[in-house]
Symmetry: C4
Subunit: 328 residues, 4 copies
């Protein structure tokens, strides 16, 4: 029984396979690099170099306060949900590692029990709610987060376009675009700081200010949502220039190291999120792996802050960065 | 019996082979990348990213009217001719898939019977005529298209330079450059909208206006005609700026996805053609494959239009695109 | 018996090999790409695209007159010397192919007999003399060329820096830098047009004018002489802008196709030389291979001239070229 | 017994390995290219081409005087320490090769005995002292260098951030940031010229002037110290523009050939250091390998200086360089 191809690239692959069976040799134009957003983001990050001030060495403090919580490091675990191939305890263990490293934990889709377990580790927890079509469900999730002691709540705004399953985007009818009037009301009614995640344009950043959000996460779900949206590091500085004084700008997507974090901070982000890296750290060594990863990221951040003359996060300026010229 | 090398690259290959037999080791400068036009086109497409407006979600309508026909999607099957390795029914089945998806069908070289079969599927059909040296033949083909109910007719203007067979361009004496006075007369005498295909310069676009064409297709036959002509996506915006208000600008060559389509629409094209992709879709799953491909392309187009705040095709502006900086 | 490493790259290779034997794993910074000049030249050529004028088709004539000889095509065989792995008849056979294609033949180092054989084929022949330290030898070679009926003479000006043998530059004491006063005298005393080959800067082009040269060849011997000199296609337009009205500008190095030729003509060269390509063509099919190569190059040149609206060589302008934007 | 991952990249590798064992297939964003600084440096060097003046040939003298020593070539052995996989005599033999080639020797960490052996070869020796936390130890090392006849002393300023061991940066508590007042005092108290090594910014260059240094080395320890600091060739010209008239600017990191040296001299450096290349040359052929490498580098430098019309080091200008345009 042959399955019918489900996605654009599967159609092309299947067509080529069938032509090959017919021994047809033909040239086809190159396929789209649907991974371009992540690759360009990485290439851009890796084209940014630090201008050191070794002769002005400083003692470095990476602590900062966000949502009234003092953290040791401007690193957060981006909203993740339990991966079904991982043990039940995954999120709790990651939260434990995050807590031990003095960072911030964000949770994505999931139930109250999971949320409570994460909070019980002592980590400061943010609950990110999906853009459900049923507005009551959103209110319910937000109220649950408030009552259990989350430090903030928020919403993904790009996720209703679907989720990448294998090669195909699957749209769930559970999620949908949000009416901005209703969103404004929701934000005004919760006592917690509200975060809008998935901002990639000045337009959305300004809208987030209008809606009363306390923070935004410049974030790119990549192929899973809308392919070929602006890479988050390229979107970041313009958004910071436009909205920095009105709300807190966070960023995630594709970050891997402490130097990556410093580049984002230099471009104006207040903290940097890691999602798939947290999964890898958990897979490597459980909660200890998560803690170790954040500690290593923080140590590298600290070392390079010292080398670029930045005693604290507030002292980090765009001028510590020099971009390599484009080379053929 | 040794065959003599027929093309430039065959001469170089044969020379290297013979020197190798003589055990001569020698450095030679790199050969020309005769695929540069298609590769640069793809690289350029993949360097264009979307600036989303997730907080201004819109309902999207991708329908539009061209040649007095209302279509569901700004996608057309570029003029194709039957591939001799495919069943007789190839073009009819592709037309059926195109019809089911609500798109437009263009036919290239071929006879009246084939044309009639395609029209009989109910798909709106455009007949593209080759630049025959015998002007009467052109008139005959155009009149046949008129009488059978095509929605438009047109002509390839780049194809008389030859056709790539393997590694060698074969020139057919059937085709030749067109006298522009005669072309003007032909266009004035047909009651159907006339399309000029193969425009890659402002000069040719302005000439097309002068000749009375209703539409042009910005299109690049690649190595098959003239190698190293400007990639169509790079040629497109300048042509749109110059001729957009005087005729309808279409584009094809190397497009693969719905996001590719949106990039071309943002640069001012009114619809986007797919040729080799249609062959692959047909090879993958017959007319169902063609329909599915166009539907997937349209769904992706719709999703990204929604995410960039474009309720309909007329609302698509160049500003939804952000080009990645050149990176070494 | 171990051989001592002779060149820089051999030292690095040998050192790495020895460290590997000692099981030392160590990171070393990347080696210089000593092929950068040829690769950049090719990349630059392949980044140039043609702006077609399909609606202004023209009849094309590629003939032109140089050194009072009318040629069918602006192609010449760059000065080559007999390769010792080839039959004695190599240069004569190449000259025959060049003659049959209506092109120009240049000869490099070699004796009177070889020169006479090439002239006897009926090909128009240019004799390029090496920069011998013994000035009398230069006069002797020039007078020999005059008396046998060469159409021009000239001199390589970059070759005394050595010749690449395997990985090592070998300097011959036979050649040396030329006293420009003596060179001026030599040029004034020969009745033949004098060509200076190896010009890569405006400074040398202006000097060539001063010395009374009739033509220059913008040319890059690559690693064989001075590594990392400006690629000839990048050097060409500036030199043309400075010296075009005072002498004839020719170009060679790394050209492979008829489209390459048109790009050089568009940048202002009057003819384009092929050296290693001629060797390959000869290795592929003797004098017939050489003729066929030049004919194919000329046919491609003609086709693209027709497509870009250039009826003859004088009509070729820089505006037929569009450079692709730099893409990461 | 499983070892716990020690570094960021080890965590990612281990996580991927464990997920693979669980047969989880998942896409992860690309990892940081932690070798970007060295690669960008090389790419930048290889994008610089020479503008030859073959018609103005000159006799070349590469000698110059630094720290009151006349050298045959503007090449130095960057401060190296004995590699534990090499024989005891390593540094002495390298110094011997350096002496035979008429270059300058710099020594890094190591004892008096080693220093004396190097000086005993007759090579001019510079002692570079590490940034010890114990100031007396620094004074001791400097006085030892003075008394044994070093031609200059200096200090690494970037090395206290750690040393790359395998994949992990190990910080030694022996080294630390230097108090600039104490550094100023040290510099004023030694009678030898003082060199500050590891400068990559105008800020540090200006500080070095303030502290009374005679020379700086623009230098990048790469991943071993702070990853992603500006590549030294990219940092060089700006530093030269700012500090050239106040102290001597040297440069090292990633240089491999004589043409590389000329590019650095054209950007304003007075001499160029080689470290890993010296190790390779020693591994290839002992002190003879070192001498041969420097001689080959010098010969290439000489050849290209002749070809670009530079009779001596002072005549080398930035205008002999032409940068290739960025090409996709």
């Amino acid at each position: 029984m042959t399955e019918r191809p489900l996605s654009i690239s599967q159609i092309y692959a299947k067509g080529k396979e069938n032509l090959k069976k017919m021994e047809v040799k033909r040239w086809f134009p190159p396929d789209s690099n649907t991974d371009a957003s992540a690759q360009t983001n990485r290439k851009y990050l890796d084209s940014l170099f630090f201008v050191p001030k070794f002769l002005d060495p400083v003692e470095v403090d990476t602590s900062f306060t966000i949502f009234s919580v003092k953290l040791k490091t401007p690193v957060f675990c981006s909203p993740i949900s339990r991966h079904n191939f991982m043990p039940d305890t995954e999120l709790t263990e990651i939260a434990r590692g995050v807590r031990d490293a003095g960072a911030l934990m964000m949770l994505g889709i999931g139930g109250s029990k999971e949320l409570q377990s994460a909070i019980d580790t002592g980590a400061p927890v943010v609950k990110m709610v999906k853009p459900y079509r049923r507005t009551e469900l959103i209110y319910e999730k937000v109220r649950d987060a408030e009552s259990r002691g989350c430090v903030a709540v928020g919403m993904d705004i790009d996720h209703f376009y679907g989720l990448l399953v294998g090669d195909k985007v699957e749209k769930t009818e559970l999620f949908g675009p949000q009416n901005t009037d209703e969103l404004k009301q929701l934000i005004s009614q919760t006592k917690l700081p509200f975060i809008i995640k998935g901002v990639l344009s000045v337009s959305d950043a300004e809208k987030a200010v209008e809606l009363g959000a306390s923070a935004i996460v410049v974030s790119n779900h990549g192929r899973g949502a809308i392919d070929f949206t602006v890479p988050s590091m390229i979107a970041l500085p313009r958004i910071v220039d436009s909205a920095d004084d009105k709300l807190t700008v966070l960023v995630d997507t594709g970050f891997k190291t402490g130097n990556d974090v410093l580049k984002a901070l230099a471009f104006g982000a207040k903290a940097v999120g890691f999602a798939s890296s947290m999964l890898l750290a958990f897979a490597a060594d459980g909660s200890a792996g998560v803690e170790r990863l954040i500690n290593l990221i923080t140590a590298e951040l600290q070392r390079t802050m010292a080398a670029t003359g930045c005693p604290n996060l507030a002292a980090i300026k765009r001028s510590i960065i020099s971009q390599a010229p484009p080379l053929g």
